[in-house]
């Protein structure tokens, strides 16, 4: 990344790498430091009382990892899972989860100065889940805020679930 040093931007920070994934015609970037692995689609075990976009859980070398479908998360139509459908396993705040996307395409480097705020526009995605957008080789890449994919609704849901349990427990 040293070659970035002479770029016009006077940003002292280093460029971040993003894994780009495809969802329909759009391209999204996932911070590569959060990505644990990329695996082909495998069927998952459904879990009760989960929101629709949580497909279920899978066995990742002994750990039980929830998998969510990014299309469903963003309210897009569900696609058939095919040979190119992949599950990207990410780790955020010590929790792992899988994100099902249509395909993975590339790894791009994005200097912090190249990240633009997301205008409130007609993207299919709620801007809440986006950190910003950038342009890579004439393509627009929307940078995902992975931390929020399984949140915050889920946190609220969790609280609601806990409140509804009649267990009189102190914890």
């Amino acid at each position: 990344m040293n070659q970035q040093a002479n770029s016009a931007t006077a940003q002292p920070e280093e460029a971040a790498q993003y894994l780009t994934v495809n969802l329909g015609n759009e391209e999204y970037g996932v911070d590569i430091l959060a990505v644990r692995e990329i695996r082909g689609w495998t069927p998952v075990t459904r879990i009760p009382q989960a929101p629709g976009y949580v497909l279920g859980v899978l066995n990742l070398r002994g750990a039980i990892v929830p998998v969510l479908d990014l299309r469903l998360r963003f309210g897009l139509a569900r696609e058939e899972y095919t040979a190119t459908t992949v599950t990207v396993i990410v780790m955020v705040n010590g929790r792992q989860f899988g994100v099902v996307v249509d395909a993975v395409s590339d790894v791009v480097e994005v200097a912090p100065g190249d990240v633009r705020p997301v205008p409130d526009m007609g993207t299919t995605v709620d801007t809440e889940y986006l950190k910003g957008l950038t342009t890579v080789a004439e393509r627009m890449v929307l940078l995902l805020d992975v931390d929020r994919l399984l949140q915050p609704q889920d946190a609220q849901m969790l609280e609601a679930a806990l409140a509804s349990t009649d267990v009189k427990a102190v914890a």
């Binding site: 069927p43 998952v44 075990t45 459904r46 879990i47 009760p48 009382q49 989960a50 949580v54 279920g56 859980v57 899978l58 066995n59 002994g62 750990a63 039980i64 990892v65 929830p66 929790r95 792992q96 989860f97 889920d154 849901m157 969790l158 679930a161 806990l162 509804s164 349990t165 009649d166 267990v167 009189k168 427990a169 102190v170 914890a171």
Partner: protein, 659 residues
């Protein structure tokens, strides 16, 4: 022999000795309760004998000399020359404690002989030779190599100490009876007169006792306030200078300051003692694995069609053995909870004696297995709860009689599996919590604004509030306040919960629920639609095929079916879990009768697949808690199956009925 090697042997000796001491203590307690099994005496004798032998081998001469005398005493009992009296048991129990202290001193390379051990040694010798020796005189006569010439005591009561009826002045007079006492008062925490609560204690004291009294004697004075104060007792060891300045005498490094001896003090050991049968299972499995491997290796040069069946068979075997091996290895980490429970008979006996209360300890479910890590960390919270139950929960015999109860209180310690958790209950049949007093205190502490409209449970939970416990909860409000927030924090650190159930006048139950992330359960696999669920075997009563004519619909859409003269609700798993069940009519599938929290329900599933051991994995680690599901496990084909939480399902059913 290198130094490292020696240290390794020391460690083994130390752990073995501690085990021996534990066995000895248990045997002594059994004898104390009147058991007349000669084998128990042998156990005590053997423990002392092995420690003596080991200590002599490793050059811990002080320990060896001490245990030698103790062994002599036991020998007299064993050969019938001396009856097993209370006094003997008492002395031997104390000897056990002393040997434990001596061993830990030896392990850190310090001289093991202390004034305390010398005094006890004199008492032991006296008993063996049949001469009564006053303990204090013995301490002086023994004149140990590193004579303790006095004690430095730092004593700062918590502010509610006075309310518990303890009087520092009286305690100081008791200390003075042991020798010349210098008292320095620290009044730095004293508030302005206007802010002063006349019933609170703001003072701290530094005491300096100029007498070589026994540690037990010094600490005994503070027994009543144990847990209600900060207390440090440091021996002052004779310095080369003949007269040390009494006030300035600094504690000598050889004996670090030590708080009041807590029987729970139990260092986490880094090794596990594993039952021989578990090792044998492992060896067997590895043997099988080797056989399977050699069978498979014959296919190295290729397989022809006739051998395919054999290959498939071999691979299946390999898979099975690998899984079993994994489970066996994991089970090594699992230890019965009796390793924690074992310390309680002694603790309860000592506490009851000290407080003049009559207590029967009822322990159940000691064989429940828990992960070693959890086990080591649950000890202290349990000790706290047990102490509190005896100290504050159970009443004095006369009060109990006045309340129409037997004069002997019962303390129940129970461990069992429930749903995906291990539950440990500490229950007493004492006075229960005093709601008014707790509410009043919580309001005073600013934790709540008013107690109105709060359920009893919510009020009980207040005692876990941090501000509540450190402040002013004492016996006068049947206070369980001391350190309850610490108990809760410890349990929460383990991912568990603590709940209280208290009925005024008839007792309090603390329920600690611990997750069993590492535990292995036996489960029945059942298919519902395309999914597989595991129902823990412990909660299954039986599985039945229900005939339609034994089913009755009830208002609200529920269904009941008749099972052995009882009607119980049918819970269709596909409804609860929202999956596509293929079989909807009751006679098409199977009903698994399960019991949770004393309530039975019938779980309707498509079919039963089989029984298997399941390594419980947490859903919460990466996802969240799901009602009705206690965890997940990995099936033979690598896919995930969810484990049904029977207790949760019973509760869901109850809630649905209420709705």
């Amino acid at each position: 022999m290198s130094k490292v090697d020696l240290a390794q042997f020391h460690k083994a000796f130390y752990e073995e000795s501690l085990d021996g001491l534990d066995a000895m203590e248990q045997a002594l307690l059994a004898l104390d309760e009147g058991a007349e099994d000669p084998e128990l005496i042998n156990v005590v004798f053997r423990a002392a004998h092995s420690i003596k032998g080991g200590a002599a081998t490793f050059g811990f001469t002080d320990v060896a000399a001490f245990t030698h005398v103790a062994e002599n005493l036991m020998d007299e009992v064993r050969s019938g020359r001396r009856p097993m009296e209370k006094a003997v048991v008492e002395l031997l129990l104390r000897s056990g404690d002393t040997v434990r202290d001596m061993l830990s001193l030896s392990m850190t390379g310090q001289p093991a002989a202390t004034a305390e051990s010398q005094a006890l040694l004199a008492e032991l010798s006296a008993m063996v030779s049949g001469v009564a020796v006053a303990p204090v005189a013995a301490a002086k006569a023994a004149a140990p190599a590193e004579a303790i010439e006095g004690w430095d005591i730092a004593f700062r009561p918590f502010d509610y100490l006075l309310k518990s009826g303890n009087d520092p002045a009286r305690m100081f007079r008791e200390l003075e009876a042991l020798g010349p006492l210098a008292v320095t008062c620290d009044a730095s925490k004293l508030p302005a007169l206007a802010d002063m609560d006349a019933e609170s204690s703001y003072l701290g004291w530094t005491l300096s006792l100029d007498a070589g009294a026994k540690r037990a004697a010094v600490e005994g004075v503070f027994d009543w306030v144990d847990g209600d104060c900060d207390l440090t007792v440091t021996p002052r060891i004779a310095a080369p200078a003949p007269v040390a300045a009494a006030v300035a005498a600094a504690p000598v490094a050889a004996a670090a300051p030590r708080t009041v001896r807590d029987p729970a003090a139990n260092s986490e050991s880094s090794s596990v003692r594993v039952g021989i049968e578990k090792i044998d299972t492992l060896i067997n499995l590895v043997g099988e694995l080797v056989i399977t491997q050699s069978m498979l290796s014959q296919f190295n040069d290729g397989v022809d069609a006739s051998q395919l069946e054999m290959l498939r068979h071999g691979l299946a075997q390999l898979g099975r053995h690998t899984r079993e091996l994994q489970e066996s290895v994991m089970s090594i980490r699992m230890l019965p909870i009796s390793t924690v429970f074992n310390r309680f008979p002694r603790l309860v006996r000592d506490l009851a004696q000290k407080l003049d209360k009559k207590v029967v300890l009822d322990m159940r479910g000691e064989t429940t297995e828990l992960d070693k890590t959890v086990l080591e960390k649950i000890g202290d919270p349990l000790v706290h709860l047990v102490r509190n139950a005896i100290d504050h929960g159970l009443e004095m015999p006369d009060k109990r009689l006045a309340a129409g109860k037997g004069d002997t209180g019962t303390l129940r310690l129970e461990a069992f599996h429930r749903g995906g958790s291990i539950v440990v209950e500490v229950a007493d049949n004492g006075a229960g919590l005093n709601r008014e007093a707790i509410v009043a205190k919580a309001i005073q502490r600013g934790i709540i604004a008013t107690g109105e409209g709060m359920s009893d449970e919510a009020v009980s939970d207040l005692i876990f509030e941090a501000g509540f416990s450190t402040a002013a909860a004492t016996t006068d409000l049947s206070g369980r306040g001391v350190g309850m927030d610490v108990v809760r924090r410890n349990v929460m650190d383990l991912g568990g919960t603590v709940a209280i159930r208290s009925v005024q006048g008839s007792g309090t139950t603390f329920t600690i629920t611990l997750p069993l992330t590492l535990a292995i359960i036996d489960g029945l696999t059942a298919a519902v639609g395309e999914e597989i669920y595991i129902v823990p075997l412990v909660s299954i009563i039986e599985s039945v095929q229900v005939k339609p004519d034994t089913v009755r619909s009830v208002a609200g859409g529920g269904e009941l079916f008749r099972f052995r003269d009882n009607w119980m609700p049918i819970v269709r798993l596909f409804d609860v879990f929202g999956c596509a069940g293929q079989r909807r009519a009751v006679d098409e599938g199977i009903v698994i009768v399960v019991e949770g929290e004393g309530t039975r329900i019938g779980l309707f599933v498509d079919e039963l697949i089989g029984q298997q051991q399941a390594v419980v994995k947490s859903l919460e680690a990466n996802y969240r808690r799901v009602t009705g599901i206690s965890g997940a496990t990995i099936l033979a084909d690598g896919s995930v199956a969810l484990i049904a939480d029977v207790t949760g399902l019973v509760r869901m059913q109850a809630r649905r009925k209420a709705a």
